[in-house]
Amino acid sequence: MLGTLGPLLALIAACLFFASRSERFLTADNLSIVLQQVMVVGVIAIGQTLVILTAGVDLSCGMVMALGGIVMTKLAVDYQLPAALAIAAGIGATTLFGAINGLLVTRLRLPPFIVTLGTLNIAFAVTQLYSNAQTITDVPAGLTTLGNAFQLGGSSVVYGALVMLALYVVAAFALSQTAAGRHVYAVGNNPEGARLSGIATQRVLLGVYMLAGVCYGLAALLSVARTGVGDPNAGQAENLEAITAVVVGGTSLFGGRGFVLSSLVGALIVGVFRNGLTLMGVSSVYQMLVTGVLVILAVATDQFSRRVAQRGES
């Protein structure tokens, strides 16, 4: 219980602190800005949560996202493909990388950490080679629609932020209310037990990595929409920030325990600190300091509650 409530309390405490330091922090306008700043990391974190729930980790997430962004912008700009097709191809590329991760984990039984460390480098290299290390500009409007804003109660909200929130609702529903979702938890908790109870664990794992790939593709679309360009150096900050968001949110690195909505809280904590410290006029190094402390606190809390639970069983 501490593991799920803790991050939320930390987020609320951070918001109260920054509100007391800057009168501009707790305005609808500013909170909407924070939301649009975390939308890319937030959507990557959905895929990352799925993988971590199965006791894996996906180190390639940000680099695969960067590849998706380059594929969709290059096809749209250099080859004049219609926006919908270019987007589909970009998401297809990230899903393919997810499938490669999943196949290597399930068929060759390689550890996810090593597999995704490999694909992290491969995705980065492919992105650089395919784009010639050049940023792709003059992206057609069809790819940047989600970066546009609409007015809500006097402040502007970016469509992409709504897409992120909707994806979280869908993911939370699927994980808690469907058989497939509960299978993800079962595979993470006790793969052998899950297999013996008739769950096709290999198919669940493959599905999880492919769905994670789909999330990175959607995140790529949001990133392109937010910045208006295809950036071959995108994803480098998001790569670790997404894992940080999931861990700070309290999802257990040992699998089987955690909630996808907590990852949104984790992403918001990182975003709130970045925004709040700038409003206070404090260097960005302190954001790293705070993030580091929160990561260790979150993992320590998880370990502590696991030990308590184990003692209760024996």
Partner: protein, 329 residues
């Protein structure tokens, strides 16, 4: 047995093959930034026309010292007589450079200095403080008599190039500013927000969004480079403020110069990576042929590119900037 003979023969052959052509090493900060891609292309062309072979390496990302140390060691092993390097970490690279120089290798710093400066034999670089001063002067003139509310979108803490451009900007703007040798960012009452972009477009956008939240009346924006300027412009445009702000930057990449043409950036200080590379290779060839080492600092020049000229500041127009720029034309 035959295999062993062949192997020994091959081992003897390798150095003699390699020594047929003098080897010059180039180590850039990263292998992906268009600025360094252009520098490498320039060095390759210069080496080829001088009958030398260029081998290149780089850090994995901006700030990666260990990657540069590895590249340096590999180049010494490959028999390089001259190594040109753009240090990622001005202090941390010094012991490795000292070792190379002790072996009689000529080491020239390009683009940014080592700390201390004389840790390398010579430095061919943009005067970043002067680049900052030029855009500061332009911004002051372009703003006119209005009171300034400045945001600075900086690099990251502790980098000398970030400090020199920032402090030079303040000086050019007519504000109290630290001198060129100071490695910390100067502040002034007119600077209402400072945020780090890591030279990256996405993070530059995030930084500018947060600064506009802190003070919506910002009317001058200094940016460390053009990708971060593009990000800042996106944030300004989202708030409808792009017309009321003077946005200045440094680099002079082709995309940046186009952004000057479109009005997104008011002025940028253009620097010349190919010139750095050509001077470096020429000095290296002179050393290989005559043993004469270059020394001291050579300014590779900087020009202010702007679409609108202002009084009292010398500028070059966009078409001149496009002829001289690096990156995708």
């Amino acid at each position: 047995m035959l295999l062993r003979v062949a192997l020994v023969f091959a081992l003897f052959m390798l150095p003699s093959l390699a020594s047929a052509q003098p080897v010059i090493g180039l180590i850039t900060k990263t292998s992906t930034n268009p600025f360094f891609v252009k520098m490498r292309e320039g060095a390759e062309a210069a080496a080829k026309s001088n009958g030398a072979r260029l081998i290149s390496g780089s850090g994995k990302n901006d700030g990666d010292n260990v990657g540069q140390v590895t590249a340096l060691e590999n180049m010494i092993a490959a028999g390089a007589k001259v190594i040109l390097i753009t240090p990622n970490d001005s202090k941390a690279i010094v012991p490795s450079i000292s070792k190379a120089r002790a072996k009689g290798i000529l080491v020239i710093a390009l683009d940014s200095p080592t700390d201390p400066v004389d840790a390398s034999d010579a430095l061919f670089a943009t005067d970043n403080y002067r680049a900052g001063t030029l855009i500061g002067r332009y911004a002051r003139a372009a703003l006119g008599t209005k009171p300034a509310r400045i945001a600075t979108i900086d690099l990251f803490p502790g980098h000398p190039v970030g400090a020199q451009r920032h402090n030079g900007f303040l000086k050019g703007f007519g504000l109290p500013a630290p001198e060129a040798a100071v490695n910390t960012l100067g502040t002034a009452a007119e600077v209402v927000c400072m945020a780090d972009s890591y030279g990256d477009q996405t993070r530059g956008q995030t930084a500018m969004e947060n600064c506009l939240q802190k003070n919506p009346d910002i009317n001058v924006v200094y940016t460390i480079n053009e990708p971060s300027a593009a990000g800042a412009y996106k944030a300004l445009k989202a708030k409808g403020k792009e017309k009321s702000v003077v946005l200045v930057s440094v680099d002079g990449g082709c995309q940046g110069v186009r952004d000057v043409g479109s009005g997104a950036i008011a002025a940028t200080a253009q620097q010349y990576p190919v010139k750095m590379a050509e001077l470096g290779v020429a000095a290296g060839m002179a050393f290989i042929k005559t043993g004469k080492k270059p020394s001291g600092y050579t300014d590779t020049g900087v020009n202010l590119i702007a679409a609108k000229s202002v009084s009292g500041v010398e500028t070059k127009d966009v078409s001149t900037g496009l002829q001289l720029c690096f990156g995708r034309k």
